[in-house]
C-alpha cells in the first residue's frame, strides 16, 4: 500500500483532483471577499450556491448551452444575494440571522423547484457537462501537465479570477470604494459615496461568484443536480475568507488546502488505507480557528465588519 501511495501518478491524481475540488470553494470565497470587505458577512452562501447550482443545471438542461447554464447560475446567485443585501443593508437586520434565513430558504427552494420540474425519477436527469480542455503543449509536461493543465474551462476561468479580484479590489475605484465603506462608512458617506449602493454592489458580486461556483458543481464537476450537492462548501468558503486575511491570493491557497485534504481523503479511502480520514477533513477547520485567533488580535478585520450603517446613529 505504501508503494501505491508514494508514486508520482498517485500524487498527480490527488493534486489534480484537489484543484477541481478547490475550484467551487475558491470562486465563492473570492466573491465573499468583496462582500466582507464592504462590511457585510454573507452567511447565506450555502443557499446561494445551491440556487446557483440548480439554475445552472436547469439553464443548461433546457437550452443545451453550457454558457447559458453558467449565466443562469450567476443570475440566480445575484438574485439570492439581493435578498441578503435587502435584509442586511436596507432592513439593517442582524447578518447572522439574515444569512441563516437565506440558507434555509435557498435549500428549500432549490429542492422544491427541482422536484417540481422533474418529479420523482429513477435516474437523475443529466446534462452534457464541461469537458477537460488540455492546454496544448503545457499539458504534455510530465507531472505538472496532469496536475495543472488538464482541467475544464471553468477551472481555468475561476483561477483567473484570483488576479482579477485582486486587481478590482486594489486598483479600481470600485474596489477602493468597497474597502472604504467597509473600513469607515461615515467617511465614505461624507465623501458622497452611497454606502448602501456600494454594499449592494459588493454583496451582489459575491452572489454572482457563488452562483458561478454552484453552476460549476452541477455542469462541470458533476453533470446532475442533487439536494446536497453543495454540502457545506458555502461555509467552507467563509472559513477560507478568514484564513486568507481577505486577500485573493491567500484565498487560492486556502481553497487548495481544503481541496487537497478532501482529495487525499477520497483517494486514501479508495485504497482502503487504515488512516482515520476524519482527522484529515477536520484539519482545515482547526487551522482556520487558529488563523482567526491570530487575525483577530491584530484587528485585521474590516472595521465596520457586520455593522449596519445608519446616518442617524453616531
Amino acid at each position: 500500500m505504501i508503494q501505491q501511495i508514494f508514486t508520482t501518478t498517485f500524487f498527480a491524481s490527488v493534486l489534480g483532483s484537489a484543484i477541481r475540488l478547490a475550484t467551487p470553494i475558491l470562486a465563492t470565497s473570492l466573491g465573499e471577499i468583496y462582500t466582507q470587505r464592504s462590511g457585510v458577512m454573507n452567511l447565506g452562501l450555502e443557499g446561494t450556491m445551491l440556487m446557483g447550482a440548480l439554475a445552472g443545471f436547469l439553464g443548461c438542461y433546457f437550452s443545451g448551452s453550457l454558457a447559458l447554464g453558467v449565466l443562469c447560475g450567476m443570475a440566480a446567485g445575484v438574485l439570492m444575494s439581493t435578498v441578503m443585501a435587502f435584509l442586511s443593508v436596507t432592513m439593517k437586520a442582524n447578518q447572522v440571522i439574515a444569512g441563516t434565513a437565506l440558507t434555509i430558504l435557498g435549500s428549500g427552494l432549490a429542492a422544491f423547484i427541482y422536484r417540481s420540474v422533474f418529479g420523482l425519477q429513477k435516474s437523475p436527469p443529466q446534462v452534457e457537462n464541461f469537458r477537460a480542455l488540455p492546454i496544448p503543449g503545457l499539458s504534455k509536461i510530465p507531472f505538472f501537465g496532469d496536475v495543472l493543465f488538464n482541467h475544464n474551462l471553468l477551472v481555468y476561468i475561476i483561477f483567473a479570477l484570483v488576479p482579477i479580484t485582486w486587481f478590482v479590489l486594489e486598483k479600481t475605484v470600485l474596489g477602493l470604494r468597497i474597502k472604504m465603506v467597509g473600513e469607515h462608512p461615515r467617511a465614505a458617506d461624507s465623501k458622497g459615496i452611497s454606502v448602501a449602493g456600494v454594499r449592494y454592489t459588493a454583496v451582489m458580486i459575491g452572489g454572482a461568484y457563488a452562483g458561478l461556483a454552484g453552476a460549476y458543481l452541477t455542469i462541470a464537476y458533476m453533470n446532475s443536480f442533487t439536494d446536497n450537492i453543495v454540502s457545506g462548501r458555502g461555509y467552507i468558503a467563509l472559513a477560507v475568507v478568514i484564513f486568507s486575511h481577505w486577500k485573493p491570493s491567500l484565498a487560492m491557497w486556502g481553497s487548495l488546502l481544503f481541496g487537497f485534504a478532501n482529495a487525499l481523503q477520497i483517494r486514501l479511502q479508495a485504497l482502503g488505507a487504515p488512516i482515520p480520514n476524519q482527522f484529515l477533513l477536520m484539519l482545515p477547520y482547526v487551522i482556520t480557528i487558529v488563523v482567526l485567533v491570530g487575525v483577530s488580535k491584530k484587528a485585521e478585520f474590516p472595521s465596520a465588519y457586520t455593522q449596519p450603517y445608519s446616518r442617524m446613529e453616531r
Binding site: I97, A101, F112, I242, Y285
Partner: protein
Amino acid sequence: MATKKKKNLAYKLDKGLSRLLPALGTIALALLVGGIIIAISGNNPLEAYAQMFKGAFGSKSRISETLVKTVPLMLLALGVSVAFRSQIWNIGADGQFTIGAIFAICVTLYLPGENIFILLLSFVAAFVGGALWGGLSGFLKAKFNANEVITTLMLNYVAQYLLAYLIRGPLMDPNGGNNPQSASIPEAYRLPRFVSNLRVNYGIFIGLAVLIFIYYFWRSAYGYKLKLVGASNTVAKYAGLKVSGIVLFTMVLSGGIAGIAGWTEVFGAQYRLLDNISSGYGNLAIVVALLGNLRPIDIGIASFFFAALMSGGNAMQRMTEVPYSVVDIIQGLIIVFVICRTVGQSNGWKQWIAARRNARKAVTAGAAEEDGGEEDNG
C-alpha cells in the same frame, strides 16, 4: 381586590395576545406564501396543509412524534436564546449538541456498574461537554476577540468529524455488523415512555425544567447582567461589569444547554450515537429562538409549532405529491418576515423613508447651493 385581580389578568391576557398575534401573523403569511408556491407547482395547497395537520396531530402516534421532535428543538433554541440575548451569535448548537451526546455516552459505556449515579453523571457530562465546546468559542472571543460566528461554525465541523471518527473507531458497536454507530446504552438508562409503543418520553420534563430554569434565570441578577451586556457593551462596562467574563459564562451556559439536548436525544430517542445525530436542528433552533422573541415560554410554543411542521411535512410528503422542502421554504420565510416585522416595529421603515426624503432634500439643497457658486471642489 377581585377587580384588581381581574384587571391584572385582563392586562396579562392583553399583553400575551400582543406578543402572540404578530407571531401568528408571521406564520400565517409564511403559510400563505408557501400555499401559493404549492399551487404554482400544480398541487392543491389546502389538501397539502390538511395532510400536514393530520401528520402532526392526526393520531396518538403522530402527536407523540411531534413531541419527540419538540424536545431537542426546544432545548437547542433555549440555549441559542441565552447567547443571542447577550448579542453573542452562537451558531454552533449542532456541535455542542454532538459533543454533549459523545460525553454522555462515554460515561455510560465506560464506567462500570449500572446505577442511577452513572445516569446522573452522564447528564452532567453532557452539560460539561456542550459547555466546553461553547466555552471554547467564548474563551477565544473574550481573550482574543475571535469572531464567535466563525469559531462556533468551524467547531460544528470538528465535532461532526470527531463523531464520525469515534463511531467508526473507538466507540464502534462491536455487535453492530460494521455499521457506523456506537453500542446502545443499557436498557435501564433509557428515559421512560408514557405509553410503551409511543416514542414520547420523560425527556419532555427535562425540556420543561430547563425552560423554567431559563425563565427564572432572566429574572435573576446574573440574567440581568447578561441582558445588559446584550443591550450595550459600553453601558455594561460603565456599570462595572466584566464583559469578557460574562461572554465566557454566556457561551458556557448556551453550549451546556445544547449538550443537554444531546443527552435527551441519546437517552430518550436514539439510545446510541449515529452519524449526524443533531440532524441539523441547530439551524432550526435559530429560527425557533427568533420566532419566540428569545423569550423562554414563547420559544416553548414556537418549538412545538416547528416540530409539528416537521412531522407534518414528513406525512405530507408521503401522502401527496408535495415534497418536504416546502417546510424548509416556510421556515426560511418565517425568519425573513420576522426580520421585516422587527424592523417595522422599531419604526425602521419610517426612519428609512424619512432618511430618503432628507437625502433628496439635501441633494436639491446642495444643487441650489452649487448654483449660488458655493461649489466645494474636494
